[in-house]
Point group: C2
Chain length 144, copies 2
DNA sequence: CGGCAAAAGTGGAACGATTCCAGAAAAGGG
DNA sequence: CCCTTTTCTGGAATCGTTCCACTTTTGCCG
């Protein structure tokens, strides 16, 4: 597993460091976590890692395409390892929980805007907003 | 025009105040502006309005559905008056420019996730990422 | 028309996520 | 094993936004 992470890092010419491996392990076990959670998870293994290192690692991994950053409106950034498969997310308005959703209508339509205003579009991001099962059962009616 | 804004405010039982009318006028003339820009536009008419008043007004209008807040990942919040018509946005990766895009595939598919994980979904938000005509013509290749 | 309670606005301080910075440590090619 | 470059540390700074206590306005009501 670690050697897999190593290979992926080398494939994008990033050096293999303990903080990077720890971040990749954390994201593999915990999809959709925010930076604070990543810091906590990484420090469980490597207690001396600085918050800045985690920010740097997340940026390096995101820039090189090994990690995907998702940032629902009004929330802090979250990260996941699942990448390059055009999946989307459902976000709970009450508790912020996130779940994966495969592309609703296949591949093509998601990337096709009705009028692109001359923009060169390379990605269509879809966020479904609603309430998760737990929040719905707590309060069947509207948001608290 | 102002009387239209008044009517809309009263319709959602909000008091009619100068700052609120000024914000509505600013958003009508300038779609997709951020809070700073709204503050500047409002102060052109009412120089003494505090930044806090603008934040409060934007929140009140957004909560009551008169204004829509959009917040592309990694950018500050932006606001628009066009509301309740299920339109989406294209965002330029280089300069942050935003343009409106009508729903790509009609109404139904946009709200239909392939597997909703038990979430009660009430909205599907789509953001198209790419590069605007101006940025493409400046640097036809990748992002700077 | 003038008064009153509730709603809005003012100005300034506080906050939280993220970034900037300069120096120390570690990675990996020769 | 050494040297250059990349990465990490620790602390300060930034930026958008929110919190707070107090003052002003709005709009209902007599």
């Amino acid at each position: 597993m670690t050697s897999d992470f190593e290979a992926r890092l080398r494939a994008v010419s990033l050096r293999v460091t303990r903080p990077r491996l720890a971040v990749m392990a954390a994201l593999t076990d915990h999809p959709h976590v925010d930076t604070d959670a990543v810091i906590a998870l990484v420090r469980a293994d490597l207690p001396t890692v600085s918050h800045q290192a985690v920010y740097d690692v997340l940026r390096a991994l995101t820039d090189s395409g090994l990690v995907r950053r998702i940032q629902p409106a009004g929330a802090t950034a979250r990260y996941e390892m699942r990448v390059r498969d055009n999946h989307h997310h459902v976000v709970c308005r009450s508790c912020g929980a996130i779940a994966d959703v495969d592309c609703a209508v296949g591949n093509a339509p998601c990337l096709t805007a009705s009028d692109d205003h001359g923009f060169v579009i390379d990605e269509a991001e879809v966020v479904y907003w609603g309430r998760c099962p737990a929040c719905v059962s707590k309060r069947p009616e509207g948001i608290p």
